[in-house]
Amino acid sequence: MKLNQISVFLENKPGQLKLACQRLAEANINILTLSLADTKQFGILHIITPEWERAQVVFKQSGFIASVNEVLAVEVADRPGGLVEILEAIEKAGLNVEYMYAFTFGNKGKAALIFRFDNPDAAINGLKASGINIIDKVELFARAEK
């Protein structure tokens, strides 16, 4: 159920984002999706990749600080109101969202959102109770390959 996401600390200076992505490219690691949260002074880069274990090693060797966190890929209907249904389920279950971002893959009718909950296990139960589909990682990566 839970997906491993890599988060990397980036100082807000020119070239840092490019450098991080370059290291992954050199190691032949494919980024499936990413999100960049930023403040005036620093950014946090979130990356989803099947090769997250290798990515973690690459970042560490390159001198970046990277951590791994469990996130959920939640299926959302690709139509108006699709996101609202998810958010209502989250509210009903009393879940706390730290951040979220879209998982882009060209699959008509269904899209995915990556959610970082502060309690992923409670989130799994809560969302399931409202009939929300959580995409398992094997399925997610397979869809992304297409």
């Binding site: 996401q5 600390f9 100082e11 840092q16 949260a37 979130h46 600080i65 951590s67 730290e98």
Partner: protein, 444 residues
Amino acid sequence: MQAELWNDEFGKFHPASAPDYLPVEQLQQVQLQRLKSVVNRAYEKVALFRQRLDERNLKPVDIQSLEDIRRLPFTVKNDLRDTYPFGLFASPMQEIVRLHASSGTTGKPIVVAYTREDLDVWTGVMVRAFAACGMHQGDIVQNSYGYGLFTGGLGAHYGAEAIGATVIPISGGNTDRQIMLMKDFGATVICCTPSYFIHLIERAGELGVNLKELPLRIGIFGAEPWSESMRQYIRDNSNIEPYDIYGLSEITGPGVAMECRCHNGLHIFEDHFYPEIIDPATGDVLPDDTEGELVLTTLSKKAMPIIRYRTRDLTTITRQPCACGRTLCRFLRVGRRSDDMFIIRGINVFPAQVETALLQVEGTLPHYQIILTREKGLDQMEVQVEVTPEVFSDTVGGLENLQQKLETAVEQTLSIRVNVRLVEPHTIQRSEGKAKRVIDQRKL
């Protein structure tokens, strides 16, 4: 009128200034008599000093000449920290009428004490200092040194009051109000840190107040090192003649030494504060006109006599005659320090204090560096802290929280506002020898 008599070229006619002009032999007699007395007192009343003399098989009676002072042990800042709060007092608490304190690196302050006579001596040297720069009865003195545990505010206050001036005890901060009162009250003298005055000049400019139209004519600046170019800047932007005042609370506070109108070194009030210059590595006393560490002995203090205190200030003492006629020796303006302490907005800061704060928050000591800059005349301190895997959070809130905690911890230790900037690992240069903790980009 009294003011005319006092307001001569070099404060020569102020009654309190007489000891500034003692013939050297007479000065030395006074110094020797007071030295014997203070060594006696410290031996009898201060356990640490007695213990150190006993270890050296020395007795107060062995001090027969001024040169014999070299046989006495040094006092260092740690001695004051280790005896916190009252371990170096030579007077019972009933006789102590004032306590002051300054920051210590472990978070505990350095405590100093004064009897009524000690306060009179302190006020006396402040009067001599103020007379040396031409302050007199009738001057309106804006005292922007901080009032409170810091010795600057009250030291300047009592000195200015004693000389008969009109004192505005405004203390520090609230620059707009400072400028308003300066204008409305017609201040003729200002006492504050030099960097604060430069900040005030800039703010006055923004407010459309022309300092050159004000009756301000004397500035008494201290508590931090400042350069000739800062002095010139102050002269160019006001009608002030800027004077350098020196002191440290371990000795008494401000008023240990003061520039005269010649602006060629600061005269030490050595009838009360006996100066020596030593080689900081060996402790050997150096001759005049040689650079070394300034050591001071309080010849007159009752509550807390301090013998051969190592100030960590590097300077040179000269006994060449000064055009003002004072026979008191001069030391050249203090520039470098022999330890890693720095001064920001008039406050002494040791990198060790910052380390304690960082350690408190993180549990281990991260790599850090302190960057000092000056923006619009105000000192800014940024502490760059490398993020470690242990403290990294994948949420912005988590990292901002960390930044906030670090800022709060450092601010509580130092009592000044700082910025903490989280940086990537290896941003801060590692060094083989002593880590370069402080990068001072202020052009002094």
